[in-house]
């Protein structure tokens, strides 16, 4: 099966307010989808449904063939989420946080330590890796969050404004880890589509109220 994500009539309501209203989409493995739209259009809601963190109100969602939410257990561990929050404990160091996440994903021993060291070097965080997360700047936390997101080498990356808080150097380093690559399926939410359009295979435009225009092939 070459389809990574398939959505049919996806709806999600928060009480009376619709966040997503009938989204259809098909994204192949290894492709990148850019999700754009104004605030409140349901971009983050879409990402959280794909991450198995939120249940759809109606419609069909399949990730790598698994129907969500019922078969979510089949795809957890194959997904990396980089959201608004870094998902790091403030009272632990960056390295301790990454060790914790590594163990949750079944990575252990020397292999896990080597992977953590490799990622910390990739985002230039080796010197501050043993400082408590609470003592780090927002940009440094985002670099660690990028490490956490790709630690277990997920096949599907869900990226919500991945450049948030990053300086030019941080953006370049993060791009190496979460940018387009062979076999890596990506869903990227952004308010800055012009800069990321060249990396996208498909574009999904959401509007306020969660309605979606049919996804279109990006013109690279």
């Amino acid at each position: 099966m070459n389809t990574a994500i398939e959505l049919r009539g996806l709806c999600r309501d928060y009480g009376e307010r619709p966040a997503l209203a009938g989204v259809d989409l098909s994204l192949g493995r290894g492709e990148s989808l850019l999700v754009v739209g104004p605030n409140g259009a349901g971009k983050t809601t879409l990402l959280r449904i794909l991450a198995t963190l939120l249940r759809p109100s109606a419609g069909e969602v399949r990730v790598f063939g698994a129907a969500l939410p019922g078969e979510a257990w089949k795809v957890r561990g194959r997904i990396g989420l980089l959201g608004h929050e870094p998902l790091l404990y403030r009272d632990l160091s960056g390295r301790e946080n990454l060790r914790f996440h590594a163990r949750l994903h079944g990575l252990r021993g020397d292999g896990a330590e080597a992977r953590i060291a490799e990622l910390l070097a990739a985002v230039d965080m080796e010197r501050r890796a043993d400082d408590r997360v609470a003592e780090l700047s927002a940009g440094m936390r985002q670099r660690l969050a990028v490490c956490r997101c790709v630690l277990h080498e997920p096949e599907l990356l869900l990226l919500d404004e991945p450049d948030s808080n990053l300086d030019a150097e941080g953006r370049a380093l993060a791009r190496e880890l979460v940018g387009p690559a062979e076999g890596r399926t990506r869903v990227v939410v952004t308010h800055d589509p012009e800069r990321l359009l060249s990396e996208a295979d498909e574009v999904l435009r959401l509007s306020t109220g969660g309605s979606a225009e049919p996804s279109e092939a990006a013109s690279r």
Binding site: A51, T52, L53, L54, R55, W73, R76, G77, I79, L81, G83, E85, P86, L87, L88, Y89, R90, D91, L92, E96, F100, H101, R103, L104, H105, G106, L107, R108, G111, A112, A114, R115, R132, R148, H152, E153
Partner: protein, 237 residues
């Protein structure tokens, strides 16, 4: 690391790994920040001081001693229960754990175990203080430890369940005790029933002691099973 190099442990072992990871994370964070333990211990000791002067008694025995000890420990425990899931809620731990390919009951088991560790640590400090303030001798302390351990297990199971629900509410500091206290009435009856003969005048007695221990054990079993069976659903959005 290639996927085939990852731990291929069966689900049960994987849950044990997740349990140790979450428990280790919680204990490390508590040792580093001391957000719960000192507050729980200080609350309990202060309450004993208030009882000592409020009751104007230097000796307590029987049901009064059991009631003072258990009520103090219960309200001190609520301080820890209120904070049990705060980091998970405020720092994204719930999402991180829900994204991982683990049995979520590992989170319940780890949190309940962390709470038992907190309660035992607090009791190691405050029960001797209670004995110093109110008891003739320390002869009751060894069997008393068994009662408290069984009571701690039940309190941890119930407290973990309630805390995981209350943490999503803005009124969590009010909600947790309001829901928890009615649920621990049977536990409180059994705990004080078992403590009463141990703290009797003239040294520990064992009248109906075994029966009360059995009730405590049954309560623990029921709420540990309820927690195991329902926790996965409580974490859903």
């Amino acid at each position: 690391m290639k996927p085939e190099e990852r731990s291929a442990a069966p689900p049960l072992v994987q849950s044990a790994v997740a349990f140790r990871a979450i428990l280790g994370k919680d204990l490390r964070a508590e040792l580093r920040t001391l957000q719960s333990l000192p507050a729980m211990a200080l609350f309990a000791v202060t309450t004993f001081v208030i009882f000592r002067f409020g009751l104007d008694r230097t000796q307590l025995s029987g049901s009064l001693a059991a009631g003072v000890l258990w009520a103090t420990l219960l309200f001190a425990a609520i301080l820890g229960i209120n904070r049990l899931f705060v980091a998970e809620r405020e720092e994204g731990g719930f999402d991180a754990i829900r994204l991982a390919p683990i049995d979520r009951s590992a989170l319940f088991a780890a949190k309940a175990t962390a709470l038992v560790v907190y309660l035992v640590a607090v009791e190691l400090v405050v029960v001797p203080v209670f004995a110093l303030f109110f008891l003739d001798s320390g002869a009751a302390l060894p069997p008393l430890a068994l009662v408290l351990l069984l009571a701690d297990l039940g309190l941890a199971a119930t407290g973990t369940l309630i805390s995981s629900m209350a943490v999503n509410s803005r009124a969590r500091d009010l909600l947790a005790p309001l829901v928890l206290l009615p649920l621990v009435v049977p536990l409180s009856i059994a705990a004080t029933g078992a403590l009463e003969p141990l703290l009797a005048v003239g040294g520990p007695g064992y009248h109906r002691f075994g029966s009360w221990l059995a009730v405590l054990g049954l309560y623990d079993l029921i709420f540990l099973l309820v927690g195991y069976a329902t926790f996965d659903f409580l974490l859903e959005d």
